[in-house]
């Protein structure tokens, strides 16, 4: 059902966990839909220097959270904010049609974290 990349990222995510003194946190999803994603970021000189996630959800949700973190790390806030669901999907590769929606949730959590960071630092 899932490709090798999805399975391996699900099995051994590189960015799973939390950042204790994160500069901002963004969360999307709810229990009803069965996916909740939380993204923690630390920002240094306008760039995402550290990023971690915690995800409640299926294989696709966890794998795509991890892939999003990889895409965002080291990017400027402006660049990171522009990451779309399609960008994540391109990295994730083939997923079953029903799993597309959980694969494009993670970047919304990141967007929320960045918004929060910008609000805080105004």
């Amino acid at each position: 059902m899932y490709n090798k990349k999805v399975i391996s990222r699900f099995k051994k995510p590189k960015f799973a966990g939390e950042i204790k003194n994160a500069d901002a946190v963004g969360e999307v999803g709810n229990l009803k839909c069965g996916d909740i994603m939380r993204v923690y970021i630390k920002v240094k000189e306008g760039k995402i220097s550290q990023i971690k996630f915690k995800t409640y959800g299926c294989v696709a949700a966890i794998a795509s959270s991890d892939i999003l973190c990889e895409l965002a790390k080291g990017k400027t806030l402006e660049e990171a904010q522009k990451i779309t669901g399609r960008d994540v999907l391109k990295e994730v590769g083939e997923v079953p049609a029903l799993k597309v929606h959980c694969s494009i949730l993670a970047q919304n959590a990141l967007k929320k974290a960045i918004e929060e960071y910008k609000k805080k630092s105004q």
Partner: protein
């Protein structure tokens, strides 16, 4: 990697006796049992022997047994066939925890002017008998309630339900696909009973419907008038022979039900040691001998099942993420006051008689690890 198959509620491995019976029937009894020549007559005899065995097992007579393609067709035939036959009565009662094929047959009728009452169940999954009694009206045609629930294993008290139905003059049908040969079941317990072969080590694609003498059904498939005109179509002698052989095999191994129950209870007791876990369904003799269903707070079932799969373990989940509709299990929702977390976090293991304690211990360790690993990365604090 060794496979540990704990999804016998989905389907089972066919047993050697059934395979042998199918092979023999395909070789010796391949003729059309409706044909008038000697080969057809031999095939017909073989078919009728299988029908008789099934009838005897249920305490019914052979004319009351109609072969079908499986549980789905038997349930459709019982519900729609009875409705089409009795157009003046347009009220049907079912429970909220029916298998999709009963649920969707009822909903299909609902769209066509029928009124359906879906009975609540309590937190163990038992239908409320008082509610049933109150729900039956003069225009109630049918009550259809599943015997052993395929997800949570709860076994309904068919005798009590049937008593109420008889008293209030509604026909009672039960879907016994999961309980057949695993729990006491007989024609004394319902007016119509659905069974199938592939849940009890018989072949896929064959089932039967017991229809009490006197109950008329409108056929869903019209054709050559086979099986008293109720279900036309050339009969599958080999599959019927395989079904029969699987039943005989199950009857030989009655002791194994007790062993399965013990292994089930050991599994449940051990798995519930994982913090924040909840058993779904009833306990003891009111639970299918092979069913284990547990919800783990803070984790999603498809992920747990995927981690277990990597260890070779086959199981299933009531999580929305694993369903084609993206809806969580309606059964877990019904017993948990619509708790999405309970439904999404539910894992079902269904045993067969050949599972060993060693396999279960391996599974329990893998399960504890999987839940721990996923909780670590879950944003839900549990």
């Amino acid at each position: 990697m060794k496979t540990i198959y704990l999804d016998n509620g989905a389907t089972t491995k066919i047993c050697p006796a059934a395979e042998a019976a199918i092979k023999e029937a395909n070789e010796k009894f391949f003729a059309n049992p409706a044909s008038i020549h000697h080969a057809g007559i031999e095939a017909s005899k073989r078919l009728e022997r299988a029908r008789k065995t099934i009838a005897n097992t249920l305490g019914a007579s052979p004319e009351e047994i109609i072969f079908t393609s499986g549980g789905t067709e038997s349930n459709n035939l019982a519900i729609k066939g009875l409705s089409f036959q009795n157009p003046s009565k347009k009220h049907i009662i079912a429970s909220k925890i029916e298998h999709d094929c009963v649920l969707n047959s009822c909903k299909w009728l609902e769209e066509r002017g029928y009124e359906i009452t879906f009975l609540d169940v309590d937190k163990e999954g038992f239908v409320n008998l008082q509610q049933l009694q109150n729900a039956i009206r003069p225009d109630t045609l049918l009550v259809s309630i599943i015997h052993g629930n395929n997800e949570i294993g709860t076994l309904q008290n068919l005798q009590k339900i049937y008593e109420i139905c008889k008293k209030k003059k509604a026909i009672f049908h039960t879907d016994a696909c999961q309980s057949f040969t695993k729990a006491p079941l007989s024609a004394k317990m319902a007016d119509m009973i659905t069974i199938n072969a592939h849940k009890m080590h018989g072949p896929k694609g064959i089932g039967a419907l017991y229809i009490r003498k006197g109950i008329q059904l409108t056929p869903l498939a019209h054709g050559g008038g086979h099986q008293q005109g109720i279900r036309s179509g050339t009969q599958n002698v080999a599959a019927a022979a395989g079904f029969e052989a699987a039943i005989k095999e199950a009857q030989k191994q009655k002791k194994q039900i007790k062993n399965m129950q013990n292994l089930r209870d050991y599994f449940i007791k051990s798995a519930l040691k994982i913090p924040n876990s909840t058993l779904n369904g009833a306990e003891g003799n009111s639970r299918l001998a092979n069913n284990i269903n547990i919800s783990f707070a803070g984790v999603e079932g498809e992920s747990v099942a995927a981690l277990l799969d990597m260890e070779g373990i086959c199981c299933s989940t009531g999580s929305a993420c694993a369903s084609k509709s993206l809806d969580p299990s309606h059964v877990i929702m019904a017993i948990s006051n619509n708790s999405h977390e309970r439904a999404h976090g539910s894992i079902r293991f269904t045993l067969s008689a050949s599972n060993t304690k060693k396999e279960i211990d391996f599974t329990l360790r893998a399960l504890a690890q999987a839940v721990k690993k996923l909780r670590k990365i879950s944003p839900l604090k549990r």
